[in-house]
Symmetry: C2
């Protein structure tokens, strides 16, 4: 039975981290809210989230349905799917290392979101623009170097070589790191301009992943939406550093 | 061999979610940075985080060492420890439900942190007090009801009864929910005043957990630090609603 992915239509957002794994593995899945042909849209997703009958409702999208089981949160979905898709380390202990890395990505993604929404998710960006500028400045000067420096060091110190973040084969964490770099470059092109010099292993990983046949085909397809200013990674020039 | 927990001394912080599980299970563990008798302090923790030799360095505390394996991030540590401590659901699929719930708690905790640090973690609260007021107002009016309402509904809809958040036995998620409620009541006493009426199952869970013999003994011990204004849950009266 096909996996069912539930996430907002129109943005890459957090759902994209799951899509990349499903696409790389060419898994059989339905992107429920995007299947306009089935006339579903986000309605079914919201209905499920607010169901009074469902035993285990998720707090927010994305979530994955595998038969009766609903798995929520990106890192949890990937932890669950990883072994099934051949995208998790074979050594069981390393799966906890992978999960730890993925949760660091989760934290980074939350901080990216807060660069444009530092006060309230419920309010428009325009209503918190001044605070967004202050938060973005701190994010660029302190947090990007901290996170990217960390991932670079982990890559460099991987006993199995710096081609992968954990173990000696591609994992879902590598795919997520590709997405993080892609997103940061979209949102903060000036701040990220020299990133390949500062973080060479991370840049190499981004390039290698983007050229994998299944992933490259996905990136060229209509299923890959473009980054936009409704998603997590948003390009507001006023939040980037000056050239 | 005893588990080694690495976390800052002086605060409950994120480490407390792990401590509660270890204490409830009466597990053999060393709270490394607090073992002043061993003359260690936070130095050993930071050394490990910045090691150039370690295969898998963690991004931030808390992390757990079990022999050679280092497991980082609260939800990951609990996912790893849960079955070993008898604090995870026995049905494997429910462990992903538990992990999803724990990750929702992780998100809530990050939002609590940002009520007093909405602009930059690196700067003092006093430097971002105005923004903290705005963020706290939104947190109290929108986010507390959303998160607590969600957990209340999950408790009420648990097919095994509302005494536990998942399955029919105590899990680490129940312990974490106790801590969240305890922390929110400390940080925002006015906003939380009527919480037991609004969220009866959550309030009952908090009370039941606090009375479990092992946990009650821990809460009375010197190992349980008091909440304070260096941790995640901070009581700044100006951020709470007026009485």
């Amino acid at each position: 039975m096909a996996y069912e992915l539930y996430y907002w239509d129109g943005i890459q957002g957090r759902g994209e981290f799951v899509r990349l794994a499903l696409e790389e593995a060419r898994a059989d899945y339905v992107d429920v809210a995007r299947q306009s042909g089935r006339g579903l849209g986000a309605g079914v997703m919201l209905e499920l989230m607010h169901s009074r009958l469902e035993a285990h409702i998720p707090f927010a999208p994305p979530f994955l349905k595998d038969g009766e089981l609903i798995v929520s949160h990106v890192a949890n979905i990937l932890f669950y799917l990883g072994p099934k898709l051949g995208l998790a380390p074979k050594v069981e202990k390393l799966r906890y290392v992978a999960n730890g890395l993925q949760l660091t990505i989760t934290d980074l993604v939350a901080e990216v979101h807060d660069t444009h929404h530092p006060i309230a998710t419920s309010r428009y960006y325009e209503e918190q623009k001044q605070e967004a500028k202050a938060r973005s400045a701190a994010f660029i000067s302190e947090r990007i170097p901290k996170f990217c420096g960390y991932f670079e060091q982990v890559l460099q110190q991987n006993p199995k070589g710096s081609s992968h973040i954990v173990g000696d084969t591609l994992s879902y964490v590598d795919l997520s790191l590709f997405q993080v770099i892609d997103g940061l470059r979209y949102a903060f092109p000036n701040a990220m301009k020299a990133y390949a010099t500062a973080y060479p292993a991370l840049a190499a990983l981004h390039d290698t992943v983007s050229k994998r046949p299944n992933l490259a085909a996905y990136l060229r397809s209509e299923r890959r939406l473009a980054f936009n200013e409704e998603g997590i990674f948003r390009h507001y020039p006023e939040l980037d550093v000056a050239t």
